[in-house]
């Protein structure tokens, strides 16, 4: 167990190494948030709010919370695994008395903790000061946190599966680019999922992406019945089970497939 705590600390330390990148990340989030804010305000100003699933205020609340959440949900897991496999460094990990996946998780968990402190909480403060109207539904905040934790697990499992694809493909960044675009759209980190056209909404119901952003953000920002909240949480749990099974199979087959690169 102690070795995984060490890896968690390593995750934290590695993130803290380059202080200029910390500032750049934080500022880029503020700029992005302002851009989203301006964009949606302009869209609503030019449209008389016809046939939209969310009204102006709900949308603004949604994009604020989604952007804050993105500071901790974005992760490097795919990149880490890819470079380990591509450079052959994974051999160094596989000869250690530890579980590779638990190691990656510990490191990712450490990084997420430090991101929460460095970006997520300050951004909450900034938006709290800048935006005077209430953003969250206080009564649902507890469920919101549970949902964020579930989303964090889903996001990790998804990244792990894609990262492990490098066992077959060796180079996965073109796949990553494609999936990243789909992910950004369908997860609801850019646009509230509720605004999607019918067909896209239906397709999305069968994909795990919306469980990462759309579900937790909606629980936090939109008043809904408790029954409805629980249904959403169950959807997330089901996705965790499915992705866990897929990940285990990918790992078992992938490990056999392994050809360590170079020398």
């Amino acid at each position: 167990m102690r070795k995984y705590i060490d890896y968690m600390k390593i995750g934290i330390k590695e993130h803290m190494v380059y202080s200029s990148s910390i500032w750049a990340t934080f500022l880029s989030k503020i700029v992005y948030l302002y851009m989203q804010f301006a964009l949606w305000n302009a869209l609503f100003a030019s449209n008389a709010e016809k046939n939209l699933a969310l009204n102006h205020e709900e949308t603004i609340r949604y994009i604020i919370v989604a952007t804050v959440l993105s500071t901790i949900m974005e992760c490097n897991v795919i990149g880490w695994i890819n470079s380990e496999i591509q450079t052959g460094n994974i051999a160094n990990q596989l000869i250690r008395p530890m579980d590779f996946r638990t190691m990656i998780f510990s490191k990712h968990f450490g990084t997420t903790l430090i991101k929460t402190v460095l970006y997520c909480i300050p951004l909450c403060v900034v938006t709290g000061v800048a935006f005077h109207k209430p953003i969250v539904c206080d009564g649902q905040l507890g469920f919101g946190f549970v949902s964020i934790i579930l989303a964090f697990i889903i996001q990790f499992l998804y990244s792990l599966i894609i990262g492990l694809m490098a066992f077959w493909l060796i180079v996965t960044w073109p796949l990553n680019m494609l999936l990243a675009a789909i992910y950004k759209l369908l997860s609801g980190s850019w646009i509230p999922v509720a605004m999607f056209p019918d067909l896209l909404g239906k397709i999305n119901a069968f994909l795990p992406f919306r469980a990462i952003y759309s579900i937790p953000v909606t629980i936090i920002t939109t008043p809904m019945s408790q029954e409805n909240i629980l249904r959403n949480l169950i959807v997330q749990i089901v996705w965790i089970v499915i992705l866990y099974i897929v990940m285990t199979v990918t790992w078992r087959i992938g490990k056999k497939k392994l050809i360590v690169q170079g020398g």
Binding site: K9, V17, T87, N89, A91, R96, L258
Partner: protein, 252 residues
């Protein structure tokens, strides 16, 4: 710990129906506490063999037995006992101080405080790791990085140590220190050491025995002395060149 390898083979599948035999039916025994030079020309199957001996690759045929244990049944036990140092790849965490990696390995291999202290003293005295222990590997010179890598792989007293080109690109003085250190470890802890290298002077100073492979097959397995008698010269480099040349002609 001793290593017994019997009829080991590995075939890589290339594109459709094409195959490359990387290791072809080789057998050898490495007794406990010896330093073995494991050599062969580039592409001979050395790395593949080492990867199978460390449990990274699964062999297509044959068996590997490490003190009677095998990777299928006793994987975890074996992992606690083996150390690996690659000259061209670092095991250290790139961006954080060397000391943190050493502490990580201490926890990972469940090293007691007293053993850890004792080893750190040795690394300080013989390798001089104090100079750079608080720096991350990305700021180290190649020689320093190599010493740090050796320290990381020996902090948990492995019984078997795989050294893959440990002196590549390293200046003569550091080379000598590293060799002295390897000998010291072998003498005092009876660590079995498998050394792969293209540097003939490494082999002459460190090894009593050597194993030579080429095109995936075993060419020689015996002492350095016997090899020199057989070729009637003491120039090891010349002997090795001869063996490699014969290999090229045979398959040309």
């Amino acid at each position: 710990m001793s290593i017994e390898v019997e009829k080991l083979s590995k075939v890589y599948k290339l594109k459709k129906s094409q195959k490359k035999v990387a290791v072809d039916d080789i057998s050898f025994t490495i007794p406990s506490g010896e330093i073995i030079g494991f050599i062969g020309p580039n592409g001979a199957g050395k790395s593949t063999t080492i990867k199978m001996l460390t449990g990274i690759l699964v062999p297509d045929g044959g068996t590997i037995s490490i003190d009677g244990m095998n990777f299928k049944k006793n994987r975890k036990q074996i992992m606690y006992k083996i150390g690996v140092v690659f000259g061209q790849k670092s095991v250290l965490c790139w961006d954080i101080p060397v000391l943190d990696t050493l502490k990580l390995f201490k926890d990972m291999y469940k090293v007691s405080d007293s053993v850890y202290e004792e080893n750190m003293r040795l690394f300080r005295d013989v390798l001089g790791i104090d100079e750079f222990i608080n720096q991350p590997p990305r700021l180290l010179s190649l020689g320093q990085r190599m010493k740090a890598d050796l320290a990381a792989s020996l902090i948990y007293n492995p019984d078997i140590l795989f050294l893959d080109e440990p002196t590549i690109g390293i200046d003569v003085l550091s080379k000598e220190r590293i060799r002295d250190f390897i000998q010291k470890i072998n003498r005092e802890r009876h660590t079995t050491i498998i050394l792969t290298t293209h540097d003939v002077s490494d082999i002459e100073t460190l090894c009593e025995k050597m194993i030579i492979i080429d095109k995936g097959s075993l060419i020689y397995d015996g002492t350095l002395g016997d090899l020199k008698d057989k070729y009637k010269t003491t120039d090891l480099e010349e002997i090795i060149k001869n063996i490699y040349r014969n290999g090229e002609m045979k398959y040309a």
